[in-house]
Every structure is written in C-alpha cells, then in structure tokens.
Symmetry: C2
Subunit: 239 residues, 2 copies
C-alpha cells in the first residue's frame, strides 16, 4: 500500500506527467480562471458555479503540491499561479482553440464568465493581423460580461470591466489609450458567429465600420475541421 501507483500512467512521458499534474477534473478550469489574475476562493467558486466546494478545495491543495498554484499570503483565501502555473498558458490557449471547434450554441444553463471570455479573446487573437493595424481598443459586451481588449503591434491586453470585475493585473500596453475605440454588444449565442467572421450579428455602440472590420481581422476563431464524413483517407495506413 506504500506503492500506490494507481495515480500514475506508468509512462515516462511529458504528456503523461502533465495529465497526472493538471488532468484531474476541474483542474484546468481553475488554472484558466487564475490565468486572468489572482482569485479568492469565493471568486473561483462563483466563476465555476457547478464545482462542489470540496472538489475546489481538493484541487487547490493538489495544485499547490504540484507547484502550479500558491496562496497569496496577504489575502484571505487568495490564490495565484506560480511561474510553473503561468507556463500552462500555451496549453490552455490551445485547448481553447480546439474546444472552440467542437463548441455549438450555449446549452441550457451554461454561462459565459468573464474569465472564460478573456481566454477566448486571447485564443482568438491574430497577432500577425494586429501588427499591420493601428493600436485599437475594443470594448465588448457579451451577454452580461464586459471586457476591454487593447490590441497594439501584435500584443494584446484584455481587461474585465464593469462593477463586478475581479482584480487582475493592470494594463501593460504602453499605448494605454488608443485613439481608435470600437464598442459593441452581442448576445452570448451570437459570440461564436462573431468570432467566425459574421460581424453583422454585433450591435455597434461606438465606432466606425472600418473599426468593425479591424475587429474581424484581429479576432478570429475558425469553426472546425468537421469531424465526420468526407474525411478522406490520407497518408496514414495500417499494415
């Protein structure tokens, strides 16, 4: 019983190690929310409404043991990512991109949180396109959440705004207040079409058509390599 190998996969492999460390249920969603900034226990719970409190508590303990998360000493119930945890950002963004491909319309009872929206925007960001465009601030209202995204020279800075915005790192982009500002509103159900390029689903509150086109070039999440049918045979073969 000392040798409880039940947790491991018996593989000397980076993927196996990664899944052992952050593959438990809910763990990557906690990391996703912490990527947007330090959070308190109750903030995490509010952003993950369906997580049982004991599971949140267990995961936070495990993530601390794994060196991914640590407590913020100055804040009661505060947690933040370590450097190792922040190194998960590429993993989370790739998962977001892939998951988007399999994402339909929001199901009954599913909600879009501010932290989820921030990750989606960062995953959809087209750095190359942004480099060719002037610095621009995009203020988005998606359902009940509001974000400000500043894109400048291939860099992106996303910030939740509004009365219930949670603490987060301050703006880092030098051009903190671009002259060009686009503000628009979409329903949650229309957000996916919007990122697919259907910019007519958005209501422009402020800004020109040219800025809207700029948005469409800057943020883009392509729907999917549609899974079934006509997925013609390629170079793979079985002897």
């Amino acid at each position: 019983m000392a040798a409880r190998a039940t947790r491991g996969f018996g593989q000397y492999s980076g993927v196996a190690r990664a899944v052992e460390r952050v593959g438990e249920r809910w763990a990557l969603l906690i990391v996703r929310d912490l990527l947007a900034g330090a959070r308190r226990y109750s903030d995490l719970k509010a952003g993950l409404p369906r997580i049982p409190t004991n599971i949140l508590s267990d995961r936070l303990k495990e993530l601390q043991e794994a060196g991914v998360v640590r407590r913020v000493p100055t804040v009661r119930g505060g947690y933040e990512l370590t450097a190792l945890g922040r190194a998960l950002e590429p993993v989370v963004l790739e998962l977001e991109r892939w998951g988007w491909a399999t994402l339909g319309s929001p199901a009954e009872g599913e909600l879009l949180t501010a932290d989820a929206l921030a990750v989606a925007l960062r995953a959809a960001f087209q750095a190359d396109a942004s480099r060719e465009l002037p610095p621009t601030e995009y203020v988005l209202h998606v359902g009940a959440v509001s974000m400000s995204a500043i894109a400048a020279a291939g860099a992106l800075d996303v910030l939740a705004i509004g009365p219930d915005a949670l603490p987060q790192p301050g703006r880092r982009l030098a051009a903190a207040a671009p002259a060009d500002v686009l503000e628009l509103t979409v329903e949650v159900a229309s957000f996916r079409p919007l990122l697919a390029g259907a910019d007519e689903v958005a209501t422009v509150l402020a800004g020109t058509d040219e800025l809207l086109a700029r948005f469409a070039r800057t943020f883009r999440m392509t729907p999917a390599p549609h899974s079934d049918a006509a997925d013609a045979a390629d170079d793979a073969s079985v002897a």
Copy 2:
C-alpha cells in the same frame, strides 16, 4: 433525471468543451499514440501497459462519439484519428513541453514507448534552428526504442525503426536521405539531460562532433520554470 448534467461543467467555454471531450483519464494518451499513426487495439494496449482493457474500450467508444477517432474499416481492431483528432496535435505538443518541465528521472517501472519518444522529439524540435542548418538525419537509440528523425529546412519527420516498429505514415520529406547522418545511443535516464543540452551523455555510433552540436541545436527541451521559492511577485495583484 432527464437533465443528467453530471458530465458537463456548466460553462460555455472552449476549454470546458475540450476537457469534456478528451479530458477523461487515458484519453489524451490514446490520442498521443494515434498521432504517430493508425493503431490496432492490441498496439494501443501494448503502448499503454497499465490501461485496463475495459477503459481502453470505453475511451475508444467515447472518442469515436466525440468525432476524434474512427475505425479503420479495412483492419480488424484498427483505429485512427479523424481530422478533428489530428487537430489536437498542438494541444498534445504543448502538454508534452509543459510536462517535460515537471519530469524527473524515470520512476521505477515507468517505460518510454516509441510513440512517446516520437512526440517528445516533435515537441523539442527547434524549427528556427533547423532552418539554418543543412538537412540531417538523426538516428536515436533511447533504451530499447529506435527512431529516425530527419530535419530539413524547419520541417521534421520522425519515424520509428527496428523490428517492432508499428505502422506509420511514410516519410514525407522530399530530401528523404540526407547526406549527413548522426547515430547515437543514450540510456532512458540520460535522455532528459540530452535534450537539456548535455550532449556528453550520448554515445555517438556514427557521425562527427559537428553533427552532435547540430543535434543539440535542433532538439531542445528546457527543464522548467522551477516552481517554488524565489518566485518573486510580479504584476499580478489582488485588491
């Protein structure tokens, strides 16, 4: 009881969807092995020695329902990735890179399979460095597994070799037989130091020192953002 929401996270988010689809235990390891080529049930079982057969069976069924995997009609027990499944490659490579950071020496009973090695090499590949170097073939013997990796102009082609090499896509690189060939052997325990740059742990069977230096530039996996201690406060803050 119709609304069995027990499987979902209640989030409208790409990360949540991705984890719902491929986050079950063992699922990503199955995908990892299938990324190297189509596999039969028994091949998967052999490459994942600790997976219970019922779990492998369940996962393959679930992955088919998720549109990630499909059966190879011409081969009894054959499975391969769909286009959607192949789109998981960036996710798997990022997980491999991150997992490598938390990877120590191989634990008792852990084994390094050919498919795991192939993914590690692809994750370690430095396309930029490769572009500045002549086409080269690297033949690696790591423990009991052998691979041939051809790097040419920023592209990489990895192929398991030897008597028990499993079926896999054929070589794709035009320069199928570079003039420069390096062949080397390492113990499994020395493979991680090797990719960290300690090229003296390898025994060169064929090739020059210059080719060994080329290897070190072409394949590199940096150890870690060491998790604890001295992880100084940065721009994150809690109000």
